[in-house]
Symmetry: C2
Amino acid sequence: MLRPGAERVARLGGLHRFMDWRGPILTDSGGYQVLSLAELRRMDEGGVTFRSHVDGTSHRLTPERSVEIQRLLGADVTMCLDECTPFPATEAQAATSMRLSMRWAARCRDAFVPRDGHGLFGIVQGGVHPALRAESVAALTAIGFEGYAVGGLAVGEGQAAMFGVLDGTVPLLPADRPRYLMGVGTPADLIGAVRRGIDMFDCVIPTRSGRTGRAYTRGGVLNLRNARHAEDAAPLDPACACPACKRHSRAYLHHLFKAQEMLGPMLLTWHNLQYYQDLMRDLRAGILAGRFEPAAAAAQAGWDAPDDRAPEAAEAAA
Amino acid sequence: MLRPGAERVARLGGLHRFMDWRGPILTDSGGYQVLSLAELRRMDEGGVTFRSHVDGTSHRLTPERSVEIQRLLGADVTMCLDECTPFPATEAQAATSMRLSMRWAARCRDAFVPRDGHGLFGIVQGGVHPALRAESVAALTAIGFEGYAVGGLAVGEGQAAMFGVLDGTVPLLPADRPRYLMGVGTPADLIGAVRRGIDMFDCVIPTRSGRTGRAYTRGGVLNLRNARHAEDAAPLDPACACPACKRHSRAYLHHLFKAQEMLGPMLLTWHNLQYYQDLMRDLRAGILAGRFEPAAAAAQAGWDAPDDRAPEAAEAAA
């Protein structure tokens, strides 16, 4: 919206051409970004007004403008503009916020220009309150979307509360539409959410962790900055096919991070993305074979790395 | 030497295996690095004592230890330990420094373990003083090396003085051995030095420039941070085959640098290395065809980019 700007990206041929990315692109509505980045934001029935963190100028984001921006970018999947309800919130606050998002969802549906192969997803809100989540699902399914996201989670409520919301919400969603859990998560989060019927995720964890030296592996989470890797000639994850694992030792990756070489973040980001892709591939194969639980158990079986005996392991151990 | 340490790299199978690099590796002796990085260094006839910038511990680097370190790393080309004479220096200072380096060169020759396909290079010193450079060449050729480097340049003397030293030095070097100009340079530096008989270079310019948004192209030097690239759908260099040029626009590269995405440095580093490789390939082809000057002129013909009307263009324009 601000940088490089939707109209500019449109003039340059859209995001697919700009990035030279031939896969599908899902864009967020900007609502969460305004909430987390912008200063001096003001929410009203019509939309949100905020000051740019780039240059301090004032901007207005409405459901209609959000959908237009995503069309200009060339998104394959457009997300409805919603208000990401803060956590914690009272049930009354969560209800008010959710109902505003539902009115905005209807406006997004009206503003969206249908195109073959493109879709608009609605976002379920309602905090940790089962009745509000159910009300939100009913409102969205009455409008009708190409897919349904569960939003407002991974904001500090914890894995148990998040799974609780999914237990109550996912069964209410249409079984023939993709279900997308926004902003989640660790490998254990993914396994637990897939178990509860989620199909899609987005998260910074694999890339941000890769930049800071954390690797997700079949043996658990490793911190490559840890001195115990300094002489370790073993690969990060012997079952992984990524370049970090096929070409290099843990000692080399440790050295790259200690020396602040950008090849360290590059290799570890590649690895983490490969690990997440492999995990989802294995879970899909398990589902197709009618053997999800064995696939989930196999994915978690080796998670005993000592670097971070980790929140990720919570459900696995429970 | 300090991090990760030569013995550690040796235990991990040497640099080629550590980096998974199948090409030849040339290692520097550590002399220049001690001069430029270390605190509290003290030079004597036997070697140099310095304090580590990593942990403050004291270390001793001698000609023998430098050669041993490079053997432990698995270098294909080992460089003699020398003292990089500071610039400016009086002729007397340059003479004293050069003669110490020549005595160290003889000790490096004695310490070097001959192995098939591996070589030791001597380094010509003597500042900007022709008689000292000639004396240094005589000393080194009397010892005998697999290749000869010209050192002590690109330390602030300027391109004209550097070319002056090459004019006086390179003709004295054996024609059947590689001649290597250390720490140089810009594309114009390379062309001028190849014109004077240099075969090999090392320099941080293509990678460091790439990280900071400077691109060397057939059209000259571009600064991708410059706002005039923000809407430019053209490739960086239409004649270049690197991914930055084949897949993306200048506008995209500009965006990556403005947004501080690490993909910007990655793509521009790749491009600059490709440009340098292409330049040297074209110069080699010119030499083999007996048409070096047309090849040099063709390489410089397009250097009119407005971002940095550049010191690089000095010789081309002269």
